[in-house]
């Protein structure tokens, strides 16, 4: 089937490539753009290791076609830090030991990033429900909850200071 040209912004940078319509966004990111942060953990859209941020929403890149990103703004884990300064969620995962093997981590970070914008002051139950689309086998989630709480506090503090 004929390839289609797709144009989008990824981590703020304009991208234009020819892709087969069937090319999954996860493969487009990992293989075409060499952004290997987002990972593949399943083929049934359950594990969330592929989670990225598209036009302000958390999306599983394995269940999204590259061609569907025409004109979209895509943010991946590689775009989270700002000029070498880690985002609060990245700092939180480090400080609270929210990762072990690291495979689920990019998806967790991208989801936490968006979740805290949806809900800046969440309870533990809300964090657990809000992150329920991301699976982890190593941590048992407990420290990830603490990592998100750390990031929430830091972001609120930063917002206060900016105000």
């Amino acid at each position: 089937m004929a390839k289609k040209i797709v144009s989008m912004k990824v981590n703020g940078k304009a991208v234009e490539e020819a892709v087969e319509p069937r090319t999954l966004l996860i493969h487009f990111l990992r293989e075409k753009l060499n952004l290997t942060g987002a990972h593949i953990g399943c083929e049934t859209s359950h594990c969330g290791a592929c989670t990225v941020d598209i036009d302000g929403a958390s999306v599983k890149a394995c269940t999204h076609l590259a061609v569907q990103c025409e004109g979209s703004q895509v943010l991946t884990v590689e775009g989270l830090a700002n000029a070498g300064v880690l985002h609060a969620v990245q700092e939180g995962f480090y400080k609270e030991h929210g990762l072990q093997c690291g495979f689920c981590t990019p998806g967790m970070l991208m989801r936490a990033y968006r979740f805290l914008q949806e809900n800046p002051n969440p309870t533990e139950a809300e964090i657990r429900a809000g992150m329920a689309g991301n699976l982890c086998r190593c941590t048992g989630y407990q420290n990830i909850v603490k990592a998100v709480q750390y990031a929430a506090a830091k972001l609120q503090q930063t917002a206060k200071e900016a105000a």
């Binding site: 999954l24 049934t44 859209s45 359950h46 989670t51 929403a57 999306v59 269940t63 999204h64 689309g133």
Partner: protein, 287 residues
């Protein structure tokens, strides 16, 4: 993991989409949220030669009030339903129940229209639409028509939607004052389909049930309206006896498929449990 090849179309209007459906026929499938269709294609259970993406059609989106009804564009995502102040005020069941569907990422893409049109007995919106007495708005090349939810779900993966038609909107009457509602869904884990689910909308008048609609998820080849259960409640107070009578009547119409969630006996029993819980939760909201 890799879907087979297909051609991709992204129409901007319903008319354009219908034109494509007409010309491509059964070689084409509509792409809504994609979280039922794309996984099937990745496992190569579905191999359409063409995908018609509905995500770029503005007229399929939006939630608005029309008289006493709320009209919801078929391509409204689950998260948009949850976030809708109109739904929260007028049809709160539709703002709350989607929280039990899938997970946060899937809810950004999954749509009410896709959930309804697929004809999958495991999906939640069919039973919810039955409990809401919803009307489905459909458009084909021949024009527009409406079908009541009661007449829409025909069989396993079969609805009243013809192959060359598109579901465009769901119309739901706003809740009258004092309407109670609930959706109880038993599942093995967050994100799973229902082992059994029950949607209830009811009103009380002078301590007895004056209006009730009960519908069941995933305990038959389609979502089920539990008419006999409703009859057992109508005109009655909600007591342990009438609750059990309603549950028994609901269980009597169940015809679930055994799977790893449970056998027929368990799923039927759980339908009864979910009906009881949903009636009680709905009654508690009838303030």
């Amino acid at each position: 993991m890799i879907p087979p090849s297909f051609d991709y179309h992204a129409p901007k209007t319903v008319g354009e989409a219908l034109g494509l459906l007409g010309s491509l026929g059964s070689d084409a499938k509509l792409l809504a949220g994609g979280h039922s269709l794309l996984p099937m294609m990745k496992l190569r259970f579905a191999q359409p030669a063409h995908l018609i993406d509905l995500n770029r059609i503005p007229e399929l989106r939006g939630i608005c009030e029309d008289g006493n009804d709320v009209v919801i564009g078929a391509m409204t995502s689950e998260n948009e339903l949850i976030a809708s102040p109109v739904l929260r005020a007028k049809v709160p069941l539709l703002a709350e129940a989607p929280k039990l569907i899938a997970d946060p990422q899937v809810r950004n893409r999954g749509t009410i229209g896709g959930d309804i049109a697929h004809g999958d007995p495991g999906n939640d919106h069919p039973a919810i639409s039955l409990a809401l007495d919803a009307t489905l708005h459909i458009e084909g090349r021949g024009g527009r028509r409406s079908v009541k939810a009661d007449d829409f779900y025909l069989g396993l993966y079969t609805t009243a939607l013809a192959e060359d038609e598109i579901l465009t909107a769901i119309r739901v009457p706003a809740f009258a004052q004092g309407t109670g509602w609930a959706y109880e869904k038993l599942k093995r884990k967050t994100g799973d389909w229902a082992t059994a689910g029950a949607a209830v909308v009811l009103r009380l008048n002078g301590g007895v049930v004056s209006h009730v609609r009960i519908a069941l998820t995933n305990v038959a080849p389609t979502a089920l309206r539990a008419h006999a259960a409703e009859k057992a409640l109508l005109g009655q107070a909600i007591t342990p006896a009438t609750l059990q009578a309603a549950a028994d009547a609901a269980m009597a119409v169940c015809d679930p498929a055994a799977d790893l969630r449970g056998n027929e006996e368990y799923k039927t029993a759980m339908a009864g449990q979910m009906v009881k819980r949903a009636i009680q939760a709905a009654a508690a909201r009838c303030a």
